[in-house]
């Protein structure tokens, strides 16, 4: 039987070629995704190795949680804690993690691309708490000497012996690079660019306390007794929590990539099922003949499934090879987008094994139902010239469609009315299923509706329309596959637009500043010191300078609150500024209270925060800050807060800085006046700070979003590509069963061009059904989901007509290209080849 199957499959190889490509692409996507995610999951390992000797870690109490866009902050560990521990004979070192951005020889902000933080650490020499080890050159002995981690030195092209510059809160510092160090055996502390300086360096002498204190040869209990009010963890627990935090961050990408890989697999499965259904329908006579000569149903089923295994094996094999190459492509793409993720070059056998299981599994599962149905073909069919349609059609399918649609619409109505996430989820799932099941009906309706238009092109137009209607059961799966891809693209576009609107929309429009001064990139935020601010004021044309000090607090106690959009989460963004001056740079829409009353602990909140906490003017809100609990009085409520991510929930006066324990320099500043950005830039002369126009600033706010969106598009492009292969496949299969008809039309005088356009019109229309239903579904899903997630605060997403048209054009263009070659080859087939075959 295997020989016969091989022979039959080889005979149909052209028919199956595109299916193999679809399987290969799906497998390649999932394999490369898995390989990438497994390679990035071990980056926390250097931490364990570097902090091997750390027994206890002391950190300050958490002030604001890190859920959502608000950055987590903890209170510092007072320097006295280290002094007390040392006095008691413990080996303890405090790390303040002061900001230090290394500059390249050209004076640009350099360093590793993937560094989320740029910090200075004291060189601890032979201390067991030193996570770094010199691999080249010497140790930093004096304040004028520095050591860099290997990655940073490489990225900034700095050699041992050269003079290096680095930007700190104290201004630009200079040092001689005396050595290079590794961290726990790796080239750098994960996601951190580190400059190691002598502990005597003034950068370590701020007296503001430490981010963490590492203690060796001590027990948690002993340390806890000497550091009341602090968070005390064992070294291994702390390392684990750091690893978990890193893996949480990376886990987002893993999940993200896996979801899209699964989408590609689902689309691939739809196509494989369809290919088997159509191809088996076309082989009715062959199958019936096998039954006629005595093949049992079981034998026939085995043969067809074996064929699927064969296809799956070929597709999977190609997919694995493509997947191995795909990891580099995926990694390169993440690099291009600036989402640099450290990864090892190991190839996980598990990932390859999953690829094999998925590839073979999907093909076999997709073939079973059509295979089973094909065995129901009666032997008598061999003697008839008709073919038996194996597509599930007719009443049962229509009933299922109507039922799921009814469930979907009812859940949708309830979900919208109650802003209920469960019902909304059910609605989205059911409507999607209804669209999938009812795709053939949609195709039929589209064929009928467009018949008058297509009919104008003559009988070939009518033929296109009739064929589309007649074969809807078989071809609709191609439209469904395209629908899935387009729906996801549409959904993410709407989501990005809505979030973008939150980040930069109304708030961005209300911003009237001419220029914005901000730090470039990393954490801790490159700061604008008082000296820098003074330099800016001195520039010609700077009429008003509004410095912003951004921090976060958390609501004290068990206060329940919900705040729609960015700025939510367990922390609250705070912007401290000269509120009176801010009036010149930002148009406040005052909903209640008066800005004149703002000052001291009286603050402005935006309407979203007021709604979230049910606060009115005159009420007070207790928050936990770096300086402990603080009561804030509500002096005014404004419609929209300042633009930003997080969007500040609270705007307070500069005088509140001390009360909140905020001692750092400003994080950004608005400039009102005709000053030139270049002149302000020159006056500041810091490579880590940039001056941008209002427009660039607002665009920049959503640039992270654009990056993510670009990644989503690229990942979905694979799914859409698989769907387009499905279209090409459907066209090929449809044409192969219509050679007789095409020859007859040609014999009656239709030119090959007329046949070609007729086929293109037919499959273009099919693609349009998929694209339009995808977009409509995306809109329904986005609108209802946003409504449910925001508790009704976010209205219907705005549709950018241009973007929608672009998606339609791109989808249709892809579908036409996919149809082009099979249609062309069918249109130019020699009529006689067909007639002679009779």
């Amino acid at each position: 039987m295997i020989r016969r199957t091989l022979k039959l499959a080889w005979f149909k190889r052209n028919r199956y070629a595109l299916t193999v490509v679809a399987i290969a692409l799906s497998v390649a996507f999932i394999v490369s995704t898995l390989l990438l995610t497994t390679s990035i999951s071990d980056v926390g390992e250097p931490l364990r190795s570097a902090y091997d000797n750390v027994d206890v870690v002391v950190t300050g109490p958490e002030v604001a949680g890190g859920d959502g866009p608000v950055q987590a902050i903890s209170a510092p560990v007072p320097e006295a804690v280290v002094a007390d521990l040392t006095r008691a004979g413990q080996m303890a070192v405090g790390f303040a993690d002061p900001y230090a951005q290394v500059l390249t020889a050209e004076g640009q902000a350099g360093g590793q691309d993937q560094a989320a933080a740029n910090v200075a650490e004291p060189w601890l020499g032979g201390s067991p708490l030193n996570g770094f080890a010199i691999v080249e050159g010497a140790t930093p002995e004096t304040v004028g000497e520095a050591v860099l981690d290997v990655s940073t030195a490489n990225a900034a092209s700095l050699d041992v012996g050269s003079t290096i510059n680095f930007v700190t809160d104290l201004g630009v510092q200079e040092a001689t690079l005396v050595g290079l160090a590794t961290f726990g055996g790796a080239d750098n502390d994960p996601y951190t660019s580190t400059i190691l300086l002598s502990p005597e360096h003034q950068i370590f002498g701020s007296g503001d306390g430490f981010q963490r204190v590492l203690v060796a040869d001590a027990s948690v209990a002993d340390v806890a007794a000497m550091a009341p009010g602090m968070e005390i963890q064992s070294g291994s627990d702390w390392v684990q929590s750091q690893q978990d935090a890193l893996n949480d961050f990376l886990g987002f990408f893993s999940t993200f990539l896996t979801v899209f890989a699964v989408v590609a697999v689902v689309v691939g499965m739809v196509i494989v099922t369809n290919t088997f259904t159509v191809s088996l329908s076309q082989r009715t006579q062959e199958l019936a003949l096998l039954r006629l000569v005595g093949t049992t149903r079981r034998q026939l089923l085995s043969q067809v499934v074996l064929e699927a295994v064969l296809l799956g094996a070929v597709g999977t094999g190609i997919g694995l090879l493509l997947g191995l190459a795909g990891v580099s492509v995926l990694g390169w793409f993440l690099d291009v987008l600036g989402l640099v993720i450290e990864r090892s070059s190991e190839t996980s056998p598990t990932a390859l094994a999953i690829g094999v299981i998925v590839g073979l599994g999907v093909t076999v599962v997709a073939s079973v139902r059509p295979a089973w149905k094909s065995t129901e073909v009666a032997p008598i069919e061999a003697l008839r010239s008709s073919e038996v349609d194996l597509v599930d059609g007719g009443g049962r399918r229509r009933f299922m469609t109507a039922a799921t649609l009814a469930i979907g619409l009812a859940s949708l109505a309830w979900g919208i009315a109650q802003s209920d996430i469960l019902f909304t989820g059910v609605a989205i799932g059911a409507i999607f299923l209804a669209l999938y099941l009812g795709a053939d009906s949609l195709v039929r309706v589209a064929a009928r509706m467009t018949r008058p238009i297509l009919g104008r092109a003559g009988p070939t137009g009518t033929i296109a329309s009739r064929n589309l209607e007649k074969n809807a059961g078989r071809t609709a799966a191609a439209a469904s596959a395209l629908m899935i891809g387009i729906a996801l693209i549409g959904f993410f576009t709407l989501m990005a637009a809505t979030i973008g609107q939150f980040i930069a929309g109304d708030a961005g429009e209300a911003l009237e500043t001419d220029l914005v001064v901000q730090g470039i990139g990393s954490q801790p935020e490159p700061a604008l010191s008082d000296a820098v601010l003074e330099q800016i004021v001195g520039v010609d044309g700077v009429d008003v300078l509004v410095p912003l000090y951004q921090t976060s607090v958390s609501p004290a106690g068990d206060v329940e609150f919900e705040r729609a959009g960015p700025g939510g989460g367990s922390g609250l963004g705070v912007a401290l500024t000269d509120v009176e001056a801010l009036d010149a740079a930002y148009t406040f829409v005052l909903n209640a209270g008066s800005l004149d009353d703002v000052g001291g602990s009286s603050v402005v909140i935006d309407q979203a925060t007021a709604d979230g906490f049910t606060l009115s003017v005159g009420d007070s809100l207790t928050v936990t800050s770096l300086a402990g609990p603080v009561d804030l009085g509500i002096a005014a409520i404004i419609e929209t807060s300042l633009p930003g991510s997080p969007q500040p929930a609270i705007i307070g006066d500069l005088t509140l800085r001390a009360a909140l324990g905020y001692g750092d320099p400003a994080t950004a500043a608005y400039i009102v006046g005709p000053a030139l950005a270049s002149e302000v830039n020159d006056a500041i002369d810091l490579p880590t700070v940039e001056v941008v126009s209002r427009t660039d600033y607002i665009d920049g706010l959503s640039s992270n979003l654009d990056t993510i969106l670009a990644l989503v598009y690229a990942l979905l492009a694979v799914a859409v590509l698989v769907a387009l292969i499905g279209i090409a496949n459907t066209v090929s299969l449809a044409i192969s069963e219509r050679v007789g008809e095409i020859a007859a039309t040609r014999a009656a005088g239709a030119s090959s061009r007329q046949i070609f356009w007729s086929l293109l019109a037919e499959f273009g229309l099919l693609a349009i059904v998929g694209i339009v239903s995808g977009l409509v579904f995306a809109w329904i899903a986005a609108a209802s989901l946003f409504n449910a997630l925001s508790g009704g605060q976010i209205g219907t997403p705005e549709v950018d007509v241009l973007t929608a048209l672009l998606i339609v054009a791109a989808g249709l263009g892809g579908a036409l290209i996919a149809s082009w070659f099979p249609a062309r080859s069918a249109a130019t087939t020699d009529i006689l080849d067909v007639l002679r075959a009779d």
Binding site: P459, T460, T462, A744, A748, G749, A750, L832, L835
Partner: protein, 257 residues
């Protein structure tokens, strides 16, 4: 190559005014080298207006090739195929398409109707393909009545019997009032009664409408309905006769095979 160019530029061979189609020194070879088969070997023949001609011969004699080359569906290796005064070998695909829809009609053994179109749409297909042409409704109705398919015009081919399908195919061939209709074993898939009716109709079309029909067949009864029968053997026209009887034809076929 130069041989072909010379042939293309050659003046039309002499013909009477009544000639609607002719082959001049027509040769058609398939394959190359040892495997080459000569299906048509220097054949010259004329088909005259208003004449019903049967082309007969044993299997593989080249009778279908003769028809395909004459109608422009296939190209000659050498020689000329004229429809009227037009050498079909000089026409582009587009020009051939236009000729098929306006000057020629085809009837095939297995009908070759377009499944997606109704009988009426199948019949009017050649006219509809011409953007400028209008269907002659009166003629369509007349054809439908004569062929007995007037109540079947809105049905799809799948709803018709074999005989009805072939009558739709005949109407489709007739509708553009072509110069010549080529029929390739038109009764091959029909029973004797239905065959008889179809042949009677073709005879009527020739007698009443002056239609020219070239029919490839191996059926002596079918050939007996014709004005003229030509015999092909090994790609060569070996004989022809006029007003053949079934016995004449059977005798000749026996002689040839």
């Amino acid at each position: 190559m130069s041989d072909q160019t010379d042939q293309r530029n050659a003046p039309p061979a002499t013909s009477s005014e009544r000639t609607v189609a002719r082959l001049v020194n027509a040769t058609k070879r398939f394959g190359a080298g040892d495997a080459a088969v000569t299906a048509l070997n220097d054949a010259t023949i004329e088909f005259r207006k208003g004449e019903f001609t049967a082309v007969m011969g044993p299997s593989g004699s080249g009778k279908s090739t003769l028809m395909y080359c004459q109608s422009g569906l296939d190209r000659l290796t050498s020689g000329h195929a004229y429809i009227g005064d037009v050498d079909v070998s000089t026409l582009s695909d587009q020009e051939l398409s236009v000729m098929r829809r306006s000057t020629l009609g085809f009837i095939f053994q297995s009908f070759h109707l377009v499944p997606a179109l109704t009988s009426r749409e199948n019949i009017t297909l050649p006219v509809d393909l011409n953007a400028d042409a209008e269907v002659d409704e009166a003629f369509l109705n007349e054809l439908a009545v004569v062929l007995g398919i007037e109540h079947r015009l809105e049905n799809l081919p799948s709803q018709l019997s074999g005989g009805q399908r072939q009558r739709v195919a005949v109407a489709r061939a007739m509708i553009p009032r072509p110069e010549v209709i080529f029929a390739d074993e038109p009764t091959g898939a029909l029973d004797s009664k239905t065959s008889g009716e179809l042949l009677a109709y073709l005879r009527t079309a020739v007698d009443d409408l002056g239609q020219t029909i070239v029919m490839v067949t191996h059926d002596a009864v079918a050939a007996s309905h014709c004005d003229r029968v030509v015999y092909v053997q090994d790609g060569v026209l070996v004989d022809e006769g006029r007003n053949p009887t079934v016995d004449d034809v059977l005798g000749k076929i026996r002689e040839l095979s």
